[in-house]
């Protein structure tokens, strides 16, 4: 891919469907936040009293999230190289959220590189806190990316998958969560324009393929993704293959475990977001990574 082709749209005045305002700031639909003297972003190890968010994060344009702390540290150093940035002599990158022991966060120029752990609840907590961080830092038009790993469905290992839509294990494209004892449903929608911008980045000379399609966001790695090699399995290989082929016929190109809440919460806030994963394997050929 062309490394410079996705631009932060600071100059645009487009209004998001939900929270995004015309001046590029976005609105978090929570009136209680305005009344709080202090906000502790517990899982990021930051709070609005001890930390000056505008000073620390006011220049952020992109937030990149991936599963492991190790990968997001590596990605941060990769960004240093790609962006041609030099750290002052005698300094090194440091995990900004190291005191939380929950996520790891690195900042390289206008990019945050953050680990999100595994599964919807884990990235969900991060999304709540990172969106509040961006709001307190008065960041305009941020773009969020999940850069993860996935299992391809009829998609070879090493292929890049850009999610066009996200569905759960029952085919619903809503993120559903019980709130005060009742289910709240939020549509899981990715920014179509951003997907097109990413597709425009694909270079025919790339050493890997890039595909787009529907992403199945599972709540389990084994039974929830039709694997035969979990601690439990009540179905046959034939039933598994029938299921995988049915998904493929429906346009599902990969399994991962975060897309639904990622699409839903960013869409609800009016923040542009895309889920871009590398396939570790083609699930039509096997289960083990």
């Amino acid at each position: 891919m062309d490394r410079t082709c996705v631009k932060n749209n600071r100059n645009k005045t487009k209004s998001g469907e939900n929270g995004e305002k015309r001046d590029g700031t976005f609105h978090l639909q929570n009136p209680h936040l305005e009344r709080m003297d202090e906000d502790v972003l517990y899982h990021l190890g930051l709070n609005t009293t001890s930390h000056n968010f505008v000073e620390m994060f006011g220049d952020v344009k992109f937030v990149c999230m991936g599963g492991t702390a190790n990968r997001m540290e590596t990605f941060a150093y990769y960004l240093l190289d790609v962006l041609g940035l030099k750290l002052p002599t005698g300094t090194t990158l440091i995990d900004i959220s190291r005191n939380s022991h929950r996520y790891s966060m690195y900042k390289v120029g206008p990019v945050l590189s953050i680990s999100h752990g595994m599964g919807v609840p884990s990235i969900g907590i991060l999304l709540h806190e990172i969106m509040k961080l961006l709001k307190y830092a008065k960041v305009k038009d941020p773009v969020l990316f999940r850069i993860g790993t996935c299992g391809g469905i009829g998609v070879e290992g090493g292929t890049i998958v850009i999610s066009e839509d996200a569905v759960d294990g029952l085919g619903s494209s809503y993120f559903q969560v019980p709130v005060l004892g009742k289910i709240v449903r939020r549509p899981a929608v990715f920014d179509k324009e951003l997907i097109e911008e990413l597709k425009d980045c694909v270079d025919p000379k790339d050493s890997y393929k890039t595909v787009t399609g529907i992403t199945l966001c599972a709540d389990d790695f084994y039974e929830g993704q039709g694997r035969l090699d979990g601690a439990f399995c009540d179905y046959t290989e034939a039933e598994k293959m029938e299921y995988l082929h049915k998904l493929k016929d429906q346009g599902v190109v990969n399994f991962e475990m975060e897309a639904l809440v990622f699409a839903a919460l960013t869409h609800h806030a009016g923040i542009r977001a895309a889920d871009v994963c590398v396939a570790c394997l083609d699930r039509l050929k096997g289960d083990q990574v």
Copy 2:
């Protein structure tokens, strides 16, 4: 608590409701596992070809799991002290799963101390892999503990909460997961005998209180637990308090994010398990940790 009061029941011949056999070994209900030449426990960074599980883990009696890698490393060193074990000169504990970058695992005598991340999917992956590890290591009568943090409901910060039952955000005591496109429901049941053993460990001289009750396993930290301080909030403080008091009246004593799958998968395998958490705060008094 008396540090030595929970015994591994190697000498018992009790048969579990589901998978536990009379000789203490347990049965994972997956016929496919017997037909695999090799099993890669991907998220633990171990596989049955390169690692001799019987030699490495055959003496394991207890598995303790908690959220962060940092806490479980600290707990491992605490165990060294409590169990009066000495490492050979010139050695130190090492994270056995360091190559996976997903979970951290330490072994101290007969105890594994492992991080599980946050939320049902994250601990679910670990449970699948740790139960396979115990099976391959031919461990008999293992006992699993989750030692976590939680939000108390009418329970003061610093109090220890032993879960008697687990429910989801709609009050269901089943772990529900889509498998091949259809919901599979597994009862979330903790071992009553183990709970009694833990209650017997309570010492009136303890500097903290210990309570038991129902645990609400949420899929979100903010809206899913009735907090006012997430990125979004569509309810009032009065509605939140009404909800929390209703939960309290129903016998719910704490919120956390893993109990349901922990109880369900261990029960399904016939493995004894208990969820013991410390309350970080009383949610009747506030939201922020």
